[in-house]
């Protein structure tokens, strides 16, 4: 017998109960009307839905909330119960807590494999049994021997988790049955089932819509929480005002954002230098000069560039474009200069990223140029201006705010782009101005700090959250600014 029933069973039971409720509710309503559905206040299905929803929704909400909150409560309870002397010098409560969890999970695995029984786990004593050896038998490797206090905490953790899960099981089922029973008892041909059901559906719709807010809150909170942890371990002045990025997994790292920010902005600027002229001229040509046939052919083809996954661009930069640049500018290259030492560089990543952004700039600008009223062009032609003069002196100034907005959106894309820079930009954090040097970016460092084998509570890993938050704020600022400019501009002509 498992110590706790898996949540998936509970979900299945709930679903089964509600489906049964649907048919019973429908039947009862029809029966109360003597089988004549014209006597019902609502359509028969609404009575069924009413029972279904009353059984399902409250219990599902409680279930969801419980699953989310239980780990938090148990964590803080167990964590605060750990005596201070167990926490070694240089360690933290969180680190000890992760040991506790590992031991608790190990015990669970040991129990599943039959190495120990539930009663034995409760009676375990670290001074008599070698817990480390016990867990190693079932394939859970621990870094050090288990101290009695940690074993005690792990036992508490397990006990509380099991009690919590069992309580959840019972309470959720009770809520479902009560909801089922109440709504079933109320089902009667005069009962206004439709109003109730529609109100519930509306609540569900609102819930779905607020998920967007929840996601944003989740993003901000999860990063903010870890960023605060990071600043507890690392001086914030070094992060914001330092100039050296030198993570060292043995501690004592210098983690300044400035070199990364420099690399990010440098590569983004190179990308925009490629994407903006090409994208803008392409948009101008397509909207003002091109015949319908050319437009119908070229526009979708250009937009394919936007649909290609970024990993493809990354590989292109790494395998094709970088080595090409190296053959041009590297030692013994075609041009006979030695400006480049590594295939990965600012130019490699920047230019390839620029290619990716071309359709982004061109289709946004295209929309904006098309939104400029024809009367402005006609007026300009009437005064004798040529087509290009009209575009340069009338259309572009009128479309300028929108184009600036498009460029800002492209810039935000460039700053947040990951795969191209991970594969094409290199990993050296420095303040070089040579576009043929390898530099690194915020996104690259987030990936490398979080995919390394580092300890999760060390500043070298946590810095990734601070970087992520910076990235989020940066791109959010650009997006809001861009949307503001675009919206303000649109009001002028609509």
């Amino acid at each position: 017998m498992p110590a706790t029933w898996p949540v998936s069973w509970l979900v299945l039971i709930l679903l089964g109960l509600s489906v049964i409720g649907y048919f019973l509710g429908r039947q009862r309503a029809l029966a109360s009307a003597g089988g004549d559905s014209r006597l019902l206040h609502s359509l028969p299905n609404f009575y069924g839905m009413n029972v279904l929803l009353s059984a399902l929704i409250p219990s599902a909400v409680v279930l969801g909330a419980w699953v989310l909150i239980q780990p938090m409560v148990i964590n803080s309870a167990v964590s605060s119960a750990i005596p201070a002397e167990v926490i070694a010098e240089g360690s933290s409560r969180d680190l000890v807590m992760s040991d506790v969890k590992r031991v608790a999970e190990g015990l669970e695995i040991a129990r599943e494999s039959g190495a120990v029984t539930l009663a034995e786990i409760r009676a375990l004593d670290a001074t008599q049994t070698d817990i480390r050896a016990l867990l190693a038998e079932v394939g859970v490797a621990l870094g050090s021997d288990v101290q009695p206090a940690i074993l005690k905490a792990a036992q508490d953790y397990r006990a509380m988790s099991i009690t919590g899960s069992n309580a959840m099981m019972i309470i959720v089922l009770l809520i479902a049955i009560v909801g089922f029973g109440r709504s079933y008892a109320r089902t009667h041909h005069e009962y206004r089932a439709r109003n109730i059901v529609e109100r519930a559906v509306l609540a569900l719709l609102i819930g779905a819509a607020s998920l967007a807010i929840l996601t944003t809150v989740g993003i901000v909170l999860s990063m903010l929480f870890e960023t605060v942890n990071f600043f507890g371990l690392h001086d914030w002045k070094d992060f914001f005002f330092g100039t050296v990025w030198a993570p060292n997994f043995r501690g004592d790292s210098e983690l300044a954002i400035f070199p990364l920010l420099w690399g990010t902005l440098y590569i983004s600027v190179v990308a925009l230098f490629v994407a903006v002229p090409i994208g803008l001229f392409a948009a101008i040509y397509l909207s003002e000069y091109a015949s319908k046939a050319v437009r119908g052919f070229a526009k979708p083809l250009l937009e394919i560039l936007a649909g290609i996954p970024t990993i493809v661009y990354g590989l292109f930069a790494l395998v094709t474009f970088g080595p090409f640049l190296l053959r041009m500018f590297g030692d013994g290259g075609v041009l006979g200069v030695n400006w480049m030492t590594d295939a990965r560089s600012v130019a490699t990543a920047g230019i390839v990223m620029g290619i990716m952004l071309i359709p982004f700039v061109s289709s946004l600008s295209d929309d904006i140029i098309n939104a400029v009223p024809q009367s402005l062009r006609d007026g300009s032609y009437g005064l004798g201006a040529t087509k290009s003069e009209t575009i340069r002196q009338v259309v572009l100034p009128a479309a300028l705010p929108g184009i600036v907005g498009a460029i800002l959106l492209a810039a935000s894309r460039a700053i947040g782009e990951t795969m191209i820079v991970v594969l094409g930009a290199g990993a050296i954090a420095r303040l070089s101005t040579n576009p043929l040097d390898a530099l690194t970016t915020i996104t690259t460092r987030i990936v490398s700090q979080l995919t390394g084998d580092g300890d999760f509570a060390s500043p070298e890993t946590l810095v990734a959250f601070a970087l992520g938050l910076t990235l989020f704020v940066l791109t959010l600022g650009l997006n809001v600014l861009a949307l503001y400019i675009v919206r303000k501009y649109r009001e002028q002509y609509e």
């Binding site: 719709l205 819509a209 001229f281 996954p309 979080l450």
Partner: protein, 448 residues
């Protein structure tokens, strides 16, 4: 009366038919401007062409693989000394026990073909993949009665040999290569001439699993494809209903107030948040907080769901908006409730548009890599295809783009070929999905 057409006194008298210098300049500027536009379009299309050319020329090779067909005598004296055909005893013979059989097989082949080669049998066997002995062992374990017979077995060739047949490896490029020598390439030439070494279509690349970094010739993308499939399943099952529900509320029911505004601003901002930020969210919330298993397609699917939701919401709202109000009014006029008018009339009419938007959102999610790196869907993880739905969702797996990244990182030309090949498969999926979306839109979308 004033003379409107008064000309400056010292201006030369010219005909309107002769083009003056200023007009010439203006016309030249006009032509230049137009040329810039054409140049920009050409540049864009050229880049696209180069990109596609690079993908095809580098990646098509991955669909072919070099195989070596040999007759191997499965000696009883080596594989089952007791002769009892007891599976446990046979299992005790490790792959080292099988290696001599391969050498013998090569020696016999050379003798049979009457080839002249100065190579030792050990060097001949080195043209096979490192997994050759293991493959043979699995073949024997499948059916122990094969021991004692001579079987014709097709081995994978080493990635260097494979590269040589594909033109990636040349005699110049192997000058400093310890893994293969020029003499071995000569031997390969002879074997190719004899038809023993052949390059054929490689189904294992499409359906197989990743292999360790010593054996690029055995790596396939099939298992990662399963990972992608399960992620897309999660995305479809979550993002479609939630996205549609959110859009219906915002488009049909939401009162105009600050909460609605807040939600709308949030959605448009989420659409532009860098994908890696969603990866951080997934790592912090789903893995560190909720303790869902790392590297699981379920977690990947949840992260991609959050990322795809804004796309689906935006396109769904557009198609709901396109349904004319007269439909709603007619339904309301016949006594339907607001809810009924939406679910019975507006939603079915908007369905093709919603479907199109969903497919495009899925295609976007399918190609996304960055968030998957953070939740651990990289590295050599899955060597077997998941055997059940729950295993598919919960056991560690990779995804197609993450697998491609993994190969790109191994920095070995044979893996680059796999990566490009993987990209071809990924792009085939994307093109198919987008084509379906376009066809759906063309066929079913109504213009009111």
């Amino acid at each position: 009366m004033t003379d409107v057409s008064q000309t400056p006194q010292n201006a030369p008298k010219t005909s309107i038919h002769t083009v003056d210098a200023r007009t010439k300049k203006r016309n030249a500027a006009e032509r230049r401007f137009k040329a810039y536009g054409i140049a920009a379009i050409t540049a864009g299309l050229l880049v696209l062409l180069v990109l596609i050319g690079t993908i095809l020329s580098n990646g098509l090779g991955a669909f072919q693989q070099t195989f070596v067909t040999l007759n191997v005598e499965l000696l009883e004296s080596k594989l089952d000394k007791k002769g009892e055909r007891n599976l446990e005893d046979i299992k005790k013979v490790s792959t080292f026990g099988y290696a001599p059989l391969l050498k013998t097989a090569f020696e016999e082949k050379v003798a049979e073909l009457e080839l002249e080669t100065g190579l030792k049998s050990k060097d001949m066997a080195a043209i096979l993949s490192k997994s050759a002995a293991a493959d043979l062992r699995n073949h024997v374990l499948e059916d122990p009665s094969r021991i004692g017979t001579t079987v014709e077995f097709t081995f994978l060739a080493n990635s260097r040999v494979d590269g040589y047949l594909k033109g990636r490896v040349t005699r110049e490029s192997i000058a400093n290569d310890k893994k293969i020598s020029a003499a071995q390439l000569d031997f390969v030439d002879m074997m190719v001439a004899a038809g023993v070494v052949k390059k054929t279509f490689n189904i294992d690349f499409i359906i197989g699993a990743d292999a360790s970094d010593q054996r690029p010739e055995a790596a396939g993308i099939g298992v990662a494809m399963m990972g992608s499939f399960f992620m897309m399943l999660v995305v479809l099952l979550l993002a479609l209903p939630i996205g549609v529900a959110a859009s219906i509320y915002l488009e049909e029911f939401a009162p105009k107030n600050w909460i609605t505004d807040l939600i709308e601003v949030n959605i448009s901002n989420l659409a532009a948040v860098p994908s890696i930020v969603f990866g951080i969210l997934g790592l912090a919330v789903f893995i560190n907080y909720m303790h869902l298993p790392q590297s699981a397609p379920l977690v990947g699917g949840l992260v991609l769901t959050l990322m795809t939701l804004p796309t689906i919401i935006i396109s769904t709202r557009a198609s709901l908006k396109a349904v004319p109000p007269s439909i709603r009014d007619a339904a309301l006029g016949l006594g339907a409730s607001k809810m009924q008018s939406v679910f019975h009339h507006v939603l079915p009419l908007a369905a093709p548009g919603i479907l199109t938007g969903t497919i495009i959102g899925l295609a976007q999610a399918l190609g996304e890599t960055a968030p998957l790196l953070l939740i651990g869907m990289i590295g050599f993880i899955a060597s077997n295809a998941p055997d059940s739905i729950s295993a598919g969702l919960l056991s560690p797996n990779s995804a197609m783009p993450a697998q491609i990244y993994e190969w790109a990182k191994r920095a070995e030309p044979a893996f680059y070929e796999r990566a490009w090949g993987g990209i071809i498969i990924l792009l085939i999926f994307l093109v198919t999905m987008n084509t379906i979306a376009v066809i759906l839109r063309r066929r079913f979308e109504r213009r009111w």
